[in-house]
Symmetry: C2
Subunit: 334 residues, 2 copies
Amino acid sequence: MIKVGIVGYGTIGKRVADAVKLQDDMELVGVTVNSFNYRVLAAAHKKIPLFAIADKQPFLDNGIKIAGTMHDLLEQCKVVVDCTPKKVGVANKAVYQNYPIKAIYQGGEKEHVGDTSFVAQANYDKALGKKHVRVVSCNTTGLSRTLHALDKMFGVESCRATLIRRAADSNDTDTGPINAIVPDMKMPSHHGPDVNTVLPHINIVTNAVIVPTTLMHVHAVQIYLKSPASREDVLELFKHEPRIRLISGKAKLDSTAAIMEEAKDLNLWHHDMMDVCIWDECLYVKGNEVSLFQAVHQESIVVPENIDAIRAVMEVCGKEESISKTNKTLGLVD
Amino acid sequence: MIKVGIVGYGTIGKRVADAVKLQDDMELVGVTVNSFNYRVLAAAHKKIPLFAIADKQPFLDNGIKIAGTMHDLLEQCKVVVDCTPKKVGVANKAVYQNYPIKAIYQGGEKEHVGDTSFVAQANYDKALGKKHVRVVSCNTTGLSRTLHALDKMFGVESCRATLIRRAADSNDTDTGPINAIVPDMKMPSHHGPDVNTVLPHINIVTNAVIVPTTLMHVHAVQIYLKSPASREDVLELFKHEPRIRLISGKAKLDSTAAIMEEAKDLNLWHHDMMDVCIWDECLYVKGNEVSLFQAVHQESIVVPENIDAIRAVMEVCGKEESISKTNKTLGLVD
């Protein structure tokens, strides 16, 4: 059993904690909590041991039991998954290095926090036995899954993508815009270089805009293949690739809202869409050129990646076995 | 004096009417009105003669004077500008053909409503003396201006663009989405072929999404030039091209909301942004490849095009003179 601790209990941390609990080769030692809120109440309700980052009094005042400090948590685990906001993870690295543990970070941190960046399908083996591994961001994960699949089959010459980013997560009431399209003034955007931390050989340039929605990101992706393909070839490839889901406008899955509603209707784990969703009708293939729209659920797409990263750093099994186990427990289709 | 009638008094019609009134070589005979609303009240306040499409009683009941019928309007004018919703324009064409008048249609109609499609900078001469001319849609106008400028200077080999479309105009409370990104299930989208009605020789493929905002469209445009250029070359070109405006994120013009606020702060005509706006910081040029973001004010970008189309069909002057006159009267920079 791999003893796992989670530091940071927000959008990602709470999901990774629940996902760890479902693995038969992992044990959730507990999670850190920083301030009293409804997520902490839910964790206490689920009987997840809570370790206070700082003062435990606010939790006690609200009837929440505290199992110890972050130090106590780190002493008891073999792997820590850092799910803190960006820049906190890299600061925590200095702490983690005082313990005989492996650490997994999120994509908000810069590349060099990890010995490697990680997307299970694309480069699981790179993380085998590593001490520090960075699971890349939701956008980079989505792009890497799709590009890796195409690259494996046809070779990817180059990629140009526009990321149409959701402005805020569903529970976030402090972030805008509420009526504007906001281009990323960094051109090219950081997403292309970030894909290169996983797939270093692909020529990729990205740009991004933020739009007033909370549900999912959408990527408009233009890919030039090394060898020509047909639309049928590419559909067939995506149909059989794990963690890529072909969705159909004909079935009225014609918006990010419809996708997230379908995740509820199918009673998917946590009502999340952890697959990158590619629209069948929007796939255009002509010779070496592929154009597609894909949707990425920013809150959950990296959850299976974190689980696989835990197995990779602990070297308990290979890529196929880990992906298959994770998929099975989280209800993803192989 | 060119006697002009406007059929359809909505978002475009009301602006074209005001713009016609500013031209020293045109006279606004009047506009048609279909139902009583605040736009009609404003038109009456401006003393624009109103011609009722159908029953005039609802207007009289509200104290609005009616000058006659649509037949009366068409009898008095030399050019009719049809600003009705899509499919109504093509139906009206059968009516216009009974009068010795020229007719200008909007981009909601299909290509064949006109003897030519029209964007002043790109193909003014094609419309000279024509009986039926179609001013293309806002998106096509914006793409055509930018592509024509680049094509003139460097040659455009091909273009791939993603259109991030505003969901509704500012006054429209009946249209969604309010929290979703909605891809256009028609892939490629109709915008590429529509650009080809103006610039037939350019290899262009487009796709589109709709996002929950009302202010402007944003285009992510990828262009491959026939000859290489530098970023400075392209900036210099855009700086001197009429109806293209370079905007700067450094000046905090970093969203569609900021652009429309600036249109108010500069007291631009009707507080509209009739230029296609290209972000300086987002312009990426490397060899033959150009990538840019541009914003299009869907409510107004075609207004100067309609004015130029009137002069073209009446053959009263050449392209440069018409563009210059229109720009001067509408406060656009040459």
